[in-house]
């Protein structure tokens, strides 16, 4: 068998070696300059970002080295007295963010469905613009509204919840008796609940615009298929739009959570700081990492500053995890895929 195979004859070209052609284009001098400038820009951005990160980490390490494991377990904040930790502030931050997300997600989910499925076509562009504008409203405006308007209006709601659901530990309020008409109302002000409500209004537009983006990409072929099988509008939404947009819903929720964790000014304007773990969300007094920094940076000693940086870094780590989780969920969802019709 083997002798039937013949080697292809090389054409006799007089001994010129067959060099492979170089397929890599040679960019001119101008392009080389352009590419290195762009690379330099990227590098500069990287350096700035790395500088912020490493500097914060380096200074924070000073405080962490001195405090050790107590940094996570201590509730008090007194760096110069040697007794400080983030147990109280980080729990406060997470509670405020959770209240915000619990309120914001149903609101933004329904608003996103309304805009992408129910709103008249002519109104849709305007509504999208309004939602995006809401995301750009300065936080000090929300803070003013929360501190001057909502604070006093929401007390009756807080009292009602604590009267009827006080047996659930997080809704308990110390210092008042149930259904006492003469009870002081100040125990209900400046609470985690009110701060969470204000932050909820701030994060709802962000979550809403991400969810709407996901819903509006649900493929038209599958929508029409559902209608053709006799689905009502809600049936179509349940069987096509919501499963398709699940990634966007989770991603929007997580991004909202990340934003809620880092919110500063609106929270500072509402809460009254208190450095104990305070799980009763309706009661006066709570704390958050960013409000701690905003309130304490001015009178802090150099060591106090690095302690604040350590607290800030813990918050940064938390938001980073939440944001990357959100990004990976959104990227893995089916959004952007088209159905074959």
């Amino acid at each position: 068998m083997s002798d039937l195979v013949t080697a292809p004859e090389l054409p006799a070209t007089g001994g010129v070696p067959q060099r492979k052609r170089d397929l890599v284009a040679n960019p001119g001098a101008a392009d080389r300059v352009f590419r290195s400038t762009a690379r330099g820009g990227g590098l500069l951005v990287l350096v700035i970002m790395a500088l912020v990160g490493t500097f914060l980490g380096y200074r924070a390490l000073q405080a962490l080295r001195k405090d050790g494991v107590h940094f996570v377990t201590t509730q008090d904040w007194n760096p110069d007295g040697g007794k400080f930790g983030i147990a109280a502030v980080i729990v406060g931050t997470i509670l405020i963010a959770l209240v915000a997300v619990a309120v914001a997600v149903p609101l933004s989910l329904a608003a996103a469905l309304y805009i992408s499925e129910y709103a008249p076509r002519g109104l849709r562009r305007l509504l999208i613009s309004i939602i995006d504008l809401m995301a750009a409203i300065p936080s000090v405006v929300f803070g003013l509204w929360g501190a001057f308007f909502l604070q006093w209006r929401v007390i009756s709601l807080s009292r009602w919840i604590s009267d009827w659901f006080g047996w659930i530990p997080i809704f308990k309020v110390n210092g008042v008796t149930r259904h006492d008409p003469l009870a002081t109302s100040t125990v209900y002000t400046s609470s985690t609940f009110i701060a969470g409500l204000v932050v909820a209004l701030m994060v709802a537009p962000i979550a809403c615009s991400i969810m709407r983006e996901g819903f509006s990409q649900a493929p038209i072929g599958e929508r029409e298929g559902a209608y053709a099988l006799g689905a009502t509008r809600w049936g179509m939404i349940r069987s096509v739009v919501l499963p398709f947009g699940r990634g966007a819903v989770i991603g929007g929720t997580m991004l909202g959570l990340g934003r809620a964790l880092g919110e500063t000014i609106a929270v500072v304007m509402i809460i009254s700081p208190r450095f104990v773990i305070q799980p009763r969300i309706l009661e006066n007094g709570t704390s958050s990492v960013s409000s701690l920094i905003a309130l304490r940076y001015g009178e802090a000693s150099p060591f106090g500053i690095s302690a604040l940086m350590a607290a800030g870094l813990a918050l940064f780590a938390l938001t980073l995890v939440v944001n990357f989780a959100a990004a990976s969920v959104v990227a893995r969802s089916r959004s952007g895929a088209v159905s074959e019709v």
């Binding site: 990287l46 914060l56 936080s139 509204w145 809600w234 000014i265 604040l308 800030g312």
Partner: protein, 417 residues
Amino acid sequence: MVESPTATTEAIGPAGPPTTVPVRPAGPTPQLPRRIGGIRRTDILALLGALAGGLTTTGVLWTQLGPFTGLLGYVVVSWVLFVVYYALLTGFDEAGPIVRSRIASLVVHSIGVVLLSAVAFVIGYTVWHGFGAMIHLNFFTQDLRSTGPLDPLTKGGVLHAMVGTLVEVGIALAVAVPLAFLAAVFLHEIPGRFSRFVRTVVEAMTALPDILAGLFIYATLILIFGLDLSGLAAACALAVTILPIIIRATDVVFRLVPGSLKEASYALGASQWRTVLHVLLPTARSGLATAVILGAARAIGETSPVLLTAGATGYLNFDPTQGPMMSLPLLAYTQVQSPQPAEVARGFGAAAALLLLVILLFTIARAIGGRTAGDLSRRQQRRRAAQSMRDANRYQRSHATDAGPANVPSHQKEADR
């Protein structure tokens, strides 16, 4: 998903029944199109009836029967009863799935309206309360250097804060925007492991809580390098905050530029930097404007980085390198902490001015860049059509004369203009 067509033809077989043409029945038939959508009278009546029923039942509960008080409770209970009555009324003449669909539609509509009206209310509340200070002209022409806490609203204003906001945001944008565009061009044009790494870091930095940017500038520029609390420091903090945001927005916009346009440019022999300059950036122009304006809106509204770095003052200060500089959000924040009603009103005025500024910027951003790259408004389309008509005429003329400078390659000319 696509079924192979052979399977179905085999199932029917080659010898099916003969095909016949349906015969149209003689005589004119009344052609009444069936209504398949729209709103019937019963729907509206059910809705109005349920609403009236909900409101009145709750009214009876609140005023006559139960120990209930409070407007919020009234609204919530009326709404719940409204939904229940509506479900009952539609249940009389529709099937289960349709009733469920109606209820879902009702719930979605009402919650959507609640969110939109809540935020509209926040805006309205601030502007309404800020109005008291804003109607005095001195609010825009004076600063607070000689205004005490007890002075009325006819004295003192926020000129220094407006100047401070403009200076700080201007510097922050001047630093951040060119750098962000360069970095975004790098991420888009030179893909590879390094640019992936840079993109990851940039995305991580968008999660940086804004107060940490302020704390970073405070600890480096102010505590270590001895810079004053000043507009420059605040501008640096703002630049650090908005840099990753603008990079990310720009990166997304670049991804929307059609690849065929760039390939066409390369096929015509253009180099990479010419392609970037004459194809990528002009195509993405509206998106770039949006990214910049959204960054500016974010920078204007940021309070916490400025709080740590700018210092607070009542004096008008044009020099960002020396002395503290006020800005609008910081002024609003500090003024409303005072117990004096005039100061609180001034704080609301500053917040309202800030809000109106952000809305103005946002409207401009929408007007410029509400569309994606390549998606043109009708006016732009007309302009493009006129432009290419002129070009076609010009080419014809130059071919007709066929002499002199007309021999320059046409795309080169295009690029030079």
